[in-house]
């Protein structure tokens, strides 16, 4: 079906769940008023990114009042938002929650937790163990959180699981100022979103945050990418924004006719070869 998506490019406050929920509520209201059926927030939108020892303090269990509030808000619009989720055995996950029709309908726990260079996620967070596509009123969706998207197998699995729209929640730090027009991180992501869309004939909805934490900027530039890999809407750089875009079912249909890569993709060949590699590595 055709629908309108809103990418809420917000500036979360570090460790302030109540303030960030208020920001999210305001963006939800704006998205509803603008006629969106789905609103996407960045990774860790409810908490901020460089949490370190704050992780346990800002974590939400799935029956927390904040989650109940988001369920209520989702009576008017589907919402995808990032937070720290605590499980009943006290593991903390970098999670993305999908709400619609007053219910929490899907949870994706970030699998690839970057722990190198400026990143330290695996020190504080537990790793998710699955990539699963799921059905929604917008068709079949798959969720990725930031670094997940840099592992080609992740969107591959989601696309093979039938996802035709990939939602990527991000907190991408700005770095790499050179003579180029764009930041290194911006141009890398722009290549990635476009290429991922093309490889899998999927729409990519990418929401990145803005603001600064301890001198690190987050560059924004949220995007709606068509299944052909062209950018149909892009948010401002470094500033809050609410990016609105109309998504047309026909565009997906036509691209899948022009370029039936996913139809031709051989699950059995891939599986067979992966199993062989796994066997040989075990020797």
């Amino acid at each position: 079906m055709d629908f309108t998506v809103a990418l809420a490019q917000i500036k979360p406050k570090l460790g302030c769940v109540a303030d960030n929920l208020a920001l999210a509520e305001a963006a939800v209201a704006d998205a509803v008023n603008a006629g969106a059926g789905l609103v996407l927030f960045p990774e860790l939108a409810l908490t901020g990114y460089f949490l370190k020892d704050l992780v346990p303090d800002v974590a939400l269990s799935l029956d927390a009042p904040e989650i109940i509030r988001l369920k209520e808000l989702s009576r008017h619009i589907a919402i995808v938002i990032g937070c720290v989720e605590v499980s009943s055995d006290y593991r903390f996950f970098n999670s993305a929650l999908y709400f619609d029709g007053g219910e929490l309908r899907h949870v994706h726990r970030k699998v690839y937790l970057p722990t190198y260079g400026m990143f330290d996620e695996q020190r504080y967070l537990a790793r998710g163990e699955r990539f699963r596509a799921f059905d929604s009123r917008f068709g079949r969706l798959g969720i990725l959180i930031c670094e997940d998207m840099w592992h080609l197998s992740a969107p591959y699995v989601l696309a093979m699981d039938g996802a035709t729209t990939l939602l990527c929640l991000s907190s991408s730090p700005g770095r790499g100022v050179s003579e180029d027009e764009s930041l290194g991180s911006t141009s890398a992501w722009q290549k990635l979103t476009a290429t991922t869309a093309m490889f899998f004939n999927c729409r990519v909805l990418y929401c990145n945050r803005v603001g600064y934490e301890d001198g690190v900027s987050f560059w924004g530039g949220s995007e709606v990418v068509s299944p052909a890999g062209s950018v149909t809407a892009r948010g401002k750089l470094f500033e809050d924004d609410l990016v609105m875009a109309r998504i047309e079912e026909g565009e997906l249909r036509r691209e899948r006719i022009f370029s039936p890569l996913m139809r031709d993709e051989s699950l059995s060949v891939t599986l067979k070869e992966l199993e062989r590699i796994d066997r040989e590595r075990g020797c």
Binding site: V177, Y212, S217
Partner: protein, 275 residues
């Protein structure tokens, strides 16, 4: 050797650094910044960035000459402040510094230079409290990596917008922002004594060392790769030693660990905690 690798998109750099000052100042509930203006390019550039970020009315420059400072330095500091329309005050530090060294007449240039830098720091922090303004740092990446600065002196600040850009990049950004030509063109000097220039004291030019540091630090070239790139062995070793030996200046004081949760080791929070 080329300069290409240190070239940059000055528009983008300006956007990020101006945004940094604006957001990091406002985030702590303040609107103002204070900085020491020496007459040199680093502090002039920071003043330009701050005036753009906060508005000239919210930036205060303090010019703090010592009796041996080159009078041209004060003139250049005034020139930059007047071009920006920021408030600027001259507070001479001679009486404070000389009062102290009356006890130690034989103190060498290094002790005197450090004392001057720390005297200036106390004045900036007093103004920080008096005017509810954050102190902006003006040390660039080259100086910070070489340890060419005074710990708790000019290296002290609340926010440093230029600490991740090399001196060669400071020149480029200063040109783009319209820092007065005379400040860009003059030889860099700590101005602690007459005739001192950084490059003479260091024994190499900023362009040479920036190119080496960029390959060594940013690109993580190995020693062999640096040699193959044409850097002299002695130069590489000398700079590597400077970076290593000055590392203490870039860290907080070392705390003896006895508890289960020691500040910074296993008690870790971002400074922007709750902001």
């Amino acid at each position: 050797m080329l300069m290409g690798s240190l070239g940059m998109n000055t528009t983008l750099m300006r956007t990020i650094l101006v945004g940094f000052i604006r957001e990091e100042v406002r985030k702590v509930g303040l609107t103002r910044a204070v900085l020491g203006l020496s007459g040199g390019i680093d502090s002039a550039l920071v003043a330009f960035l701050a005036a753009e970020a906060l508005g000239p009315e919210n930036v205060q420059a303090i010019i703090m000459p010592y009796r041996t400072s080159n009078p041209e330095s004060e003139a250049h500091a005034r020139l930059a402040a007047e071009q920006l329309g920021i408030r600027h005050d001259v507070i001479e530090i001679t009486s404070m510094v000389d009062a102290y060294f009356a006890r130690y007449p034989d103190a060498d240039n290094m002790r005197r230079g450090n004392k001057m830098a720390r005297e200036r720091m106390t004045i900036l922090y007093d103004h920080s409290a008096a005017w509810s303004a954050l102190v902006l740092g003006t040390s660039n990446k080259t100086e910070l990596l070489l340890g060419y600065g005074t710990l708790y002196g000019d290296m002290a600040s609340a926010l440093n917008p230029i600490g991740d850009i090399y001196k060669s990049q400071v020149w480029q950004l200063s040109e783009a922002m319209g820092v007065p030509r005379v400040i860009i063109d003059k030889k860099p000097s700590a101005d602690l004594w007459a005739g001192q220039t950084d490059e003479q004291e260091l024994g190499f030019t900023y362009r040479e060392v920036d190119e080496l540091l960029y390959h060594l630090i940013d690109l993580r070239y190995s020693r062999d790769e640096l040699l193959a790139k044409g850097f002299a062995a002695e130069f590489i070793d000398k700079i590597q030693a400077k970076v290593q030996n000055s590392h203490f200046k870039r860290r907080l004081p070392v705390i003896a660990k006895v508890s289960n949760r020691t500040i910074d080791r296993d008690f870790r929070y971002s400074r922007d905690w709750g902001k």
